[in-house]
Symmetry: D4
Amino acid sequence: MEVLILLGSKSDMDKALPCIDTLKEFGVPYTLKIASAHRTPELVDKAIKDAEANGSKVIIAMAGMAAHLPGVVASKTLIPVIGVPISNKNLDGQDALYAIVQMPSGYPVATVAIDGAKNSALLAIQIIAQNNPNLKTKLQANRDKMKAEVMRANEELGL
Amino acid sequence: MEVLILLGSKSDMDKALPCIDTLKEFGVPYTLKIASAHRTPELVDKAIKDAEANGSKVIIAMAGMAAHLPGVVASKTLIPVIGVPISNKNLDGQDALYAIVQMPSGYPVATVAIDGAKNSALLAIQIIAQNNPNLKTKLQANRDKMKAEVMRANEELGL
Amino acid sequence: MEVLILLGSKSDMDKALPCIDTLKEFGVPYTLKIASAHRTPELVDKAIKDAEANGSKVIIAMAGMAAHLPGVVASKTLIPVIGVPISNKNLDGQDALYAIVQMPSGYPVATVAIDGAKNSALLAIQIIAQNNPNLKTKLQANRDKMKAEVMRANEELGL
Amino acid sequence: MEVLILLGSKSDMDKALPCIDTLKEFGVPYTLKIASAHRTPELVDKAIKDAEANGSKVIIAMAGMAAHLPGVVASKTLIPVIGVPISNKNLDGQDALYAIVQMPSGYPVATVAIDGAKNSALLAIQIIAQNNPNLKTKLQANRDKMKAEVMRANEELGL
Amino acid sequence: MEVLILLGSKSDMDKALPCIDTLKEFGVPYTLKIASAHRTPELVDKAIKDAEANGSKVIIAMAGMAAHLPGVVASKTLIPVIGVPISNKNLDGQDALYAIVQMPSGYPVATVAIDGAKNSALLAIQIIAQNNPNLKTKLQANRDKMKAEVMRANEELGL
Amino acid sequence: MEVLILLGSKSDMDKALPCIDTLKEFGVPYTLKIASAHRTPELVDKAIKDAEANGSKVIIAMAGMAAHLPGVVASKTLIPVIGVPISNKNLDGQDALYAIVQMPSGYPVATVAIDGAKNSALLAIQIIAQNNPNLKTKLQANRDKMKAEVMRANEELGL
Amino acid sequence: MEVLILLGSKSDMDKALPCIDTLKEFGVPYTLKIASAHRTPELVDKAIKDAEANGSKVIIAMAGMAAHLPGVVASKTLIPVIGVPISNKNLDGQDALYAIVQMPSGYPVATVAIDGAKNSALLAIQIIAQNNPNLKTKLQANRDKMKAEVMRANEELGL
Amino acid sequence: MEVLILLGSKSDMDKALPCIDTLKEFGVPYTLKIASAHRTPELVDKAIKDAEANGSKVIIAMAGMAAHLPGVVASKTLIPVIGVPISNKNLDGQDALYAIVQMPSGYPVATVAIDGAKNSALLAIQIIAQNNPNLKTKLQANRDKMKAEVMRANEELGL
């Protein structure tokens, strides 16, 4: 597996789907685990150990509220960690954003937008693609597709 | 020792002093450790284990930025954990406040004001005082003193 | 009764249920009162007096907007007070959070997350459990259950 | 006395001076008390009772952080209460603003700007002036003076 | 008429109803006008002039977004002006709150809570009641009623 | 004169200097007035009338706190109005930003950054330059100069 | 064409309609393009070039989240650029507002309210109208109509 | 060179030093350029092209206010981009944080803390270290050193 995805809670699954779908679309093998930093620290530890043993290149961690999971994971491995702040009923994910991006010196988390699951996958793929020309080609194709969609939108709207 | 105080960083020491001074003033034995949730998780674990072995009644954890320490501690013990958000150069401690108070269901942190070190000690003492009539008397005396200070301020200003 | 629960308004009842349910689940006797700091200060006073007379160990106070109830209660008793900021139509409970957590020196309120009623109960139980081994066992069992739920979620999703 | 001024803390005195100076300038008799809602509720009660007995027309209450004083005063009297949020080291007075202005239905506080002590006095004077033609004249003169200052500033700068 | 109510926009009418209903309930005569500070400044001027001519005691001004109406009105009369920030689709009324409460020195606006129409009426009535014992009696009765409602809520819920 | 600059207060002069200097540098004639929307509405009116009579192309209005000046000006003329939110001791200009940018439908204010006096001048010049090829040349030269400064900075630092 | 409208995404079309409708209503010719700063920078470049070639007077750019489009456009042309922050699911458009209005020195964007599409059109028309007496007449008529609507609203409500 | 560092402005150099020092300390070759997204887009383009030609593995982009640089760079290359929000006089870097982290779908920026220059270097090194065992060893040594510093701090303070 190339990517380990950790969800802080089962309830975050819906918001994680764009990440999973994107990794599938790019053919990047991943392992997905629900593993709370507070409820199941051993599960977090085991998932990280397995990821290291399997040569995973990136870990993506998603969590809401006082989202400790990405930072805790970042402190336990040298694998780059991407953090996705998940929005909740209150505060629009601002709490999760601060709890993920404002990491103190020494343990960075590569933070993407609030509910930015798709971008977490793309960032992971960009990191992996540095040593995988095939993936680079797919990334470029994806950008070309995004561009084409804009072009087509203009056409369809007669702009 | 009755209280374990954990500081996320040596640089938080100045802001922790009002907590330490208050515990001293009330004669409440405490142990102080600098123990980062990210840098030294084993030290955090050991401090918690020692606190449990010694029958500590409360743990006070202080940290800034994406302040994970209080929540991580709360997930590792049944001892009540008081969290103190520490302000930094940017954001006025709002990041630490969210990272401490917005804990997900299951692992509460008793959060006090930003830089509220003194109140963290008083809250700890109130918890301990439930089984310590002597401390309750001191707490009441402290409140009487605070009231007297207001009275005296009025007098001194001729109000 | 071990816990006094005070709601600032009848309309907060729905958000208080997770607190009540958790206390019931743990078998912790409680008294519930609707008692506004502004509308019925005498009722607040009486409820606190009764709680003190009955040897209550914790008071949980919930309120929204300019939520004064937890702080006002904290100023009238030495029993530890847990504050729950309740969200309203506007501002996502940020107003209540500030009005509860930012207590001035001398009168701490142990603040939990916005709408964090369940955690207020768990924090109360943790405080009480310091002198109640049976409750400590239940708390540990609850944490084991939360862990098991994460494990089962992984299994059910085939992760 | 026409106006009762209540400061939540002796440390707010500096920020209260523009209020006091303005009342003096307009010749409006006032009583000033330091009276914390939490430390000295009896003093608050007594000051309100005295104000009512003396026919005070307005109460001005200033406080910082989780500023309960204005709202607590408003709940204890029918005299209109003006609240002044005082800024502190952190949060720029945003916490005090929310804790004062977001009063629940039934107990309004007439809130002015953060650190708006001067405006609290002017608002009090406007309320009193409704039955005091002399004060109205002074208020108009004050506005004329403010206008003249702008005119003079333009002249001095050669604009 | 005792009170002039100004709405910045016809679309604010729904949120103004609790103000109108409360004035009716207390038997306080009022005039209501939709009068935008930007669209119809002459209408604003005329309404203020009429209010002054009729001996109005208070003006209530409600507006949303960059809510200039209350401050503009305050600059044109010595009658006390109460401002009600109205929430919109975005920003939860935080923009209107700042645009109303943060008035510069010289022109205070007595600001109440976001969407606090009812409290704007009660504040107006408290100001008027200073010279109207009958209204004071009604205000006290209203507070007694609010207290009774809390008492009844406790009874109904068997608390 | 091509541009009218209005300052809400004499105290904003320091922050207005980059605007004035830029207009001078580009040789764009301007008139500067201190004219508060609340203190001196007649002065505001007169300045706008003069600007219209003189064929001014843009009005720049700067103000802090509940900054009504830009919006009030925008409601009184068809000349495009640029608003500059000025920061104050508290809130970092966030209050002024909201009070200027969140104008309701019908009366736009072209808002620039908090304390963005220089950009207000450049925006004014861009508007005027649409009919002034000479100014366009100067604007392009300014951009070339800014680019050259970056180039030189790289050189000086040996990058 | 007088105005170029650029949308950062096809999904912003609904929020752009009030802009388009207003330009149509005033008879101002415009070109509309969907052109993302990130996906299709060449399309952005081409649209700007065309706008310059066609003598466009204003460019309106709308985007959400980390809304770079208005600022990027502003850096590529001397035509005045109006930016419209578009709100999204989270943060109420506050992110887009900052990303548009807080432009660094040298490249101003004339920012209007969050989701302020209609005002972006009116601001564009005001700029163009400086050299188009017919448009000025229409603008004045529009203001008269807005005023009449307020008058009629008062009549219809019997105010 | 392994890393390209881009600063949006010469004035950000001070805040960039911890990034540069860390890369030096780890012996990671880097190229540093001041290259504004708005002032010198060609310089940005050239720097990216050079980085791609030289096989750079990561680009670090730092900028303040409406910080477009990181996102613009991310849209022009498949190399992973790390963004550092730089704080300014107002808003504490909150504007830059939003303008960097809230990137729309398709173009992620790996965002670190406000003024988190050191962490941007460490994140870059972690990414590079995935294919560089020597760097991994150094990273582990750095973490060991950070841990040792905490240990020593405890010793020095006699804790």
